[in-house]
Symmetry: C2
Subunit: 340 residues, 2 copies
């Protein structure tokens, strides 16, 4: 008895499935939260140019890589980066373990709860807080601490977990790219270990596809001889500005075809992507919707803030380079999945 | 007219394909170059334990990660690492561009062609050669230079391109793991940028799944304002010994379930994998086949060499920890794909 049918049966079944699949796909809008416009069209055009067989700009499936900044591009970054909130919230627990820090700056100011004084802390102070709250513990201890915060912390405006403050239109772009064979990466100035904790559940992006600001770890053994890694206060990659293309080279090793950002910290990543051959997609999210989210810039006269600067110079460069601007106000039908 | 058939048709077609696929797979030996024995059995048992639905040690597909050392584990490392040969071969070209180096050590010794003197070069000298041949150029220039060498260089014994000196039994393990949903990574002391050049074609492992010794790059612009990355003589990750688990955390961010190595430089990676919960597979390739490849150790009384030390202490630790030893002589039917 012949158990295996001839190869041609597989081929025919494959074509049947492929045809049915194509039909089903063609009837579903992959970007339902986007308004018609130049931004939406740029995404659709890019995907058609790079994935349609026979296109002069066709990109082989293995080469299909797209990178996304996180804060302000995939989720809310105002009034403060979620990870900075984590570090500030963590300070009382650090001080509890090391009471001698209670009277020492910048911990004293953080403990005071004086928001204005905290907002005035210098970069040096901030680094001290980051080092005290993000390093010195084992990788597993850090995971437990940060996971607990992610599970319980709520943002100040919508009173929701931070992982619910992702932009639904960008989630659709991630899925649309992946449905067309693109590997999606987060390339963030945020801490790599922090973002990796929720990237898979929140964005469908596995930890190994998160490139972020990364410190070193140190291998050692516990008292039972079991090996573990300790997070060290040693910076390996500052994944902002020029650090983004450098981090992409280090962690991915090839040039992405599409990149999304929202601030001057993403400029070099967009330049680097654009400098490659063939069709490339570089896009910037402009926060111009104070009613549904926030409005800040200072591009196009939007208010200047400490977080996520989208300068007029970046706006002008984008226009000159042909990078597409995504207006949250005009291009997005809705911002969050839970909106009506 | 209804274009889309009911969902149940998809489901039935899927089961037909799945059933046929299972039948076809069951009849093919996934490890044809392996002799029956404990090593082969350990691989088969591990895969069954971690991928068979309902197994108490079942591992979710997203978590299935396996890491492989390269030199001596996936391809020949004797009498010298291929990448070191590249660097030595490159020296005359570096000196041509910078003639002042001709009279300076260690370049003078390399140019002399005196193999014994070259073999006696210190680690410091070697680092000078690595820095001169692997850094200072753009990422793209490096790719061109190394690719040209890979295309033309031949090893001294078999007179074949180095990329043909991969171990067929290990290629089968890579494919067997991938066929069961494992993501396969190279975790090598070799240079990340070097190995990434051929990993996809040679092992089916894309560049983004190569973790290796990595230097920093520096982002800048050429005279036309086009951005590019320059390879800097700044070490970010020494991916040997403790650097292997540290590199795995940096680049992958989760603990692999299986790891393969062949020397003391792989010990910490194997320990780290083994320290996780559930079924873990840690294996070491023992070079005990002077006739078909090389025999060196010095485990089990094999000759001690400068390259790829598999010490007796590592051998004893492997036995104690339950790591499986792969004897090239006894476990492998053939070493290379091109053998009869």
């Amino acid at each position: 008895m012949k158990l295996i049918p001839p190869f041609s049966v597989f081929v025919r079944l494959f074509y049947v499935l492929f045809f049915l699949g194509t039909q089903a796909f063609a009837q579903t809008d992959p970007l339902p939260s986007w308004n018609d416009g130049a931004a939406r069209q740029a995404i659709v055009d890019f995907l058609q140019a790079t994935t349609r067989q026979g296109s002069p700009q066709f990109v082989a499936p293995a080469e299909r890589i797209a990178t996304f900044d996180q804060d302000g591009t995939l989720w809310v970054e105002h009034p403060m980066y979620a990870q900075v909130m984590y570090c500030l919230d963590r300070v009382p627990l650090v001080v509890k373990a090391k009471p001698e820090l209670a009277g020492v700056e910048p911990f004293k100011t953080v403990l005071s709860g004086d928001h204005e004084a905290i907002a005035r802390l210098s970069m040096d102070d901030l680094f001290k807080i980051l080092a005290a709250t993000l390093t010195g513990m084992s990788v597993d201890e850090f995971k437990d601490q940060a996971q607990q915060w992610l599970d319980t912390a709520r943002d100040t405006r919508w009173k929701r977990p931070h992982t619910e403050l992702t932009y639904q239109p960008m989630q659709e772009v991630l899925q649309y790219l992946r449905a067309n064979g693109y590997k999606t990466y987060i390339v963030t100035g945020g801490g790599q270990d922090f973002v990796r904790l929720y990237s898979e559940r929140t964005y469908g992006i596995p930890p190994e596809q998160v490139v972020g600001t990364a410190g070193g770890t140190k291998y050692g053994y516990d008292k039972d001889g079991k090996p573990f890694l300790t997070k060290e206060p040693k910076l390996l990659l500052n994944d902002n500005n020029a650090g983004k293309p450098e981090g992409i080279h280090l962690m991915i090793g090839r040039r992405p075809y599409a990149a999304f950002g929202n601030s001057t910290g993403d400029r070099q990543m967009l330049e680097y992507i654009q400098a490659g051959d063939g069709a490339r997609l570089s896009m910037l999210v402009l926060h111009d919707d104070a009613a549904r989210e926030y409005a800040y810039g200072p591009a196009q006269g939007l208010p200047d803030t400490k977080v996520g600067a989208f300068t007029q110079a970046l706006y002008d460069l984008a226009k000159k380079q042909g990078w597409k601007i995504i207006s949250m106000k005009n291009d997005w039908k809705r911002i969050f999945a839970w909106e009506q």
